[in-house]
């Protein structure tokens, strides 16, 4: 299927079919690289032959990125760059029409389209002006980012003319497409000047209503691997016995942090060497591929519908939005998201945070339609709301 696409791409620019077939064989050889350098000698041989191709091979190599795993993708990317740079250095051009066709064909891999775009811009500086207005909702985060930057510039220009309602509309348009935090924050700040408040948590799809259960024992780090009752199935009315014999149940909490940060030190109390769980049940209107993205300074595990989808046993090395990404599938209807957040026993002032943030989004970072379900517990009720 992908090979066919590559052949078609080569045919578009009139390359001989035999050469395209050679390229396809070389791509296959390179894509066979595996872990720990398996297949490297064969891939290196194929890469040398591939890199000697002319620019007519570029669309086929770019198409080869569509199903390439991350290791092979970097081999292929380097071939594209090597060929394109050599052609330009020799005073020859690149197949601009084919590159543009590749960029605008969203069936291709986002990163391959971005790569094609960057070489296209090198030979056709008018391409951004022509293409970016149509890329604001693109599946390539980098193409979308550039398109959103143009929308922000447009909004700024309108705002500078003093037309408030037009400026707000322009910023709102930019916000609808914006996915990167810095751009979203810039837009939100601009809108604030027009008395428009942006619900950042909703925009990004952060879950803000949680049930928390803690503290389980993490003395000497034992808790990360330990399977405490919530990992065997969440009963929101259960009572647990945790560290030092403490008894507790699920405690509802709602965070007002614009980026969905939940501070367990505040909600549960200040503990060291402990494990806390956050639980949310969400309703998905359809079965959908999503990314559960979390940030935390603590060791973390994430479970979706009882399946572990992510783990990272590292403590106090910073927290960033979307620090951890777990692709998974939500089924239609009720889904359960459980996050395990481990606090260790370090004494340094910078090692006291016990917190997390978690959102559910698509592959580009846009919030997906979900409804957080209200869960009635012995301690109260989580609010439950529609997001985004």
């Amino acid at each position: 299927m992908r090979t066919s696409l590559a052949l078609v791409a080569a045919a578009i620019i009139g390359a001989p079919l035999a050469a395209a077939a050679d390229v396809a064989a070389l791509l296959t050889q390179i894509k066979a690289v595996g872990r720990e350098g398996a297949g490297n000698p064969q891939a290196a041989q194929a890469w040398r032959e591939l890199a000697q191709q002319g620019s007519e091979a570029l669309p086929a190599i770019l198409a080869g990125l569509d199903d390439a795993h991350p290791i092979a993708a970097n081999w292929l990317r380097c071939a594209v760059d090597t060929i394109a740079a050599r052609e330009l250095a020799a005073g020859r051009s690149l197949p601009a029409a084919a590159l543009e066709a590749f960029v605008t064909d969203t069936r291709h891999a986002p990163r391959a389209r971005r790569l094609a775009y960057e070489w296209l811009v090198r030979v056709d500086p008018t391409a951004p002006g022509r293409l970016l207005p149509g890329l604001a909702d693109d599946p390539s985060t980098e193409l979308r980012r550039d398109a959103v930057a143009v929308l922000i510039q447009n909004a700024e220009a309108i705002a500078a003319q003093g037309d408030k309602s037009a400026a707000v509309a322009a910023y709102r348009k930019a916000l609808t497409s914006a996915r990167d935090r810095d751009q979203v924050e810039a837009i939100a700040q601009a809108l604030k000047k027009f008395d428009v408040t942006v619900d950042l948590a909703a925009h990004f799809g952060f879950i803000t209503d949680w049930l928390l259960a803690a503290p389980f024992d993490n003395t000497n780090g034992i808790g990360f691997a330990a399977v405490y009752p919530p990992e065997k199935g969440v009963d929101v009315n259960a009572t647990y016995v945790g560290k030092n014999g403490l008894k507790f149940g699920w405690k509802p909490t709602t965070t007002s942090d614009p980026f969905g940060k939940v501070d367990l030190n505040k909600v549960i109390g200040k503990y060291m060497g402990v494990v806390g769980y956050g639980f949310a049940a969400v309703h998905s209107p359809t079965e959908q591929r999503v990314e559960v993205r979390a940030g935390t300074k603590n060791a973390v595990k994430i479970f979706v519908n009882g399946q572990e989808v992510f783990f990272r046993e590292e403590y106090h090395h910073g927290m960033r939005m979307d620090q951890h990404v777990a692709p998974c599938t939500l089924r239609k209807g009720r889904n359960e998201i459980l996050i395990k957040v481990c606090q260790n026993e370090q004494k340094e002032p910078w090692a006291q945070e016990w917190e997390f943030q978690l959102r559910v989004c698509d592959a580009v970072g846009g919030a997906v339609p979900l409804r957080v379900l209200s869960e009635k517990t012995a301690a109260g009720s989580s609010e439950g709301r529609v997001m985004p």
Binding site: V33, E36, G37, N40, N74, R77, C78, T82, R312, G318
Partner: protein, 400 residues
Amino acid sequence: MRGLLSGLTLGLVSMAVWAGDWPQFRGPGGSGVSSDSHLPIRWSSTENIAWKANLPGRGLSSPVVAKGRVFLTACSAFQQTRLHVLCFDLKDGKLLWERQFWATGNTMCHPKTNMAAPTPVTDGQRVFALFATCDLVCLDVDGNLVWYRSLTSDYPTVTNQVGMAASPVLHQDTLVLLLENAGESFAAGIDAHTGQNRWKIERKRRINWNTPLLFTKNGQTSVIFQTPDELAAFDPRTGEKRWSYAASELATIPSPAAGDGMLLVPGKELLLLRPGDSAAPELVWQSARLRPATASPTIYKNRVYVLTGAGVLNCADAQSGKVLWQERLKGPFSASPLIAGDRLYAVSEDGVTSVVQLGDEPKVLSVNPIGETILASPVPADGKLLLRSDEHLFCIGAGK
């Protein structure tokens, strides 16, 4: 006159390099000492600049130099997901080629560092570039890909969200990596021809940023790993341990250095060790006064030089550890100092380079601002000095 020097004859250098080349972090001996006595003494952002090249992104890595070519890494894009390897002509700063790669590992790090923290290494035929994302690239000197590895694809639990920084070193045709981290912690010897593992040994799970040191004694080269509780020597070809020196609170940021046949080991105290033929080294002295901060120490002509966290340059006698003099410089310093031709070059984070004439008394010859933040260590190159900021690569010295 340039001539091919071999590691066996040089004693400390274990790869084929040309005199004047600077093939790895802190140079041929890995200790920040150059025989180049013609480096510039005075410059500013507009004066005595041979050339200045724009960079596509940030980096803490130092340039490396071989046969008139300068190799450098950088990172760019939102969240540093784009990794660059660049090659410049030393003569005029012309960009000869650039290759980019997509980061396959986590790009989370402390704001002060970035994904282009490790310094690449070259043998004059190839350049090996490791990024903090654990993407490892080998290109020939013309920019052709020799091989590529994604170490986080290979070992998915590898993690250091402060940011990896240890640079690789090259012994003959084995590339040695020390990736001590909070996940699968290991050291490895990589076949320079294929990128495949020659050996891989488990290390303790902990964060460590310092770069291994190649140390040759009696014709035998060992790679030295410094970790908080141990200094240990390994056979770079096999990964077999040769000796171990137990210690406590050795540094995880500044790297060890070698000189005069001795090992200089930073930590809560600075240690000077005298290695035996194959047994563990013996302690010559230790000093709490000589405690380096981020910058690595240097040993040169029987004296030890250490930049402290307060920005004080300490000079001590290498035989006794006795402090001979101190000179306050304009810090703070992340870059490790360079000694060339009896002068020490200390580059502050503000991009101010103090040039100090070494001797029985220090003499500050000049204080040279470049006007940009610099965290990368300075590099000598054929009578010129290379400085790298996040925006530019500066070649300082007489014009083109």
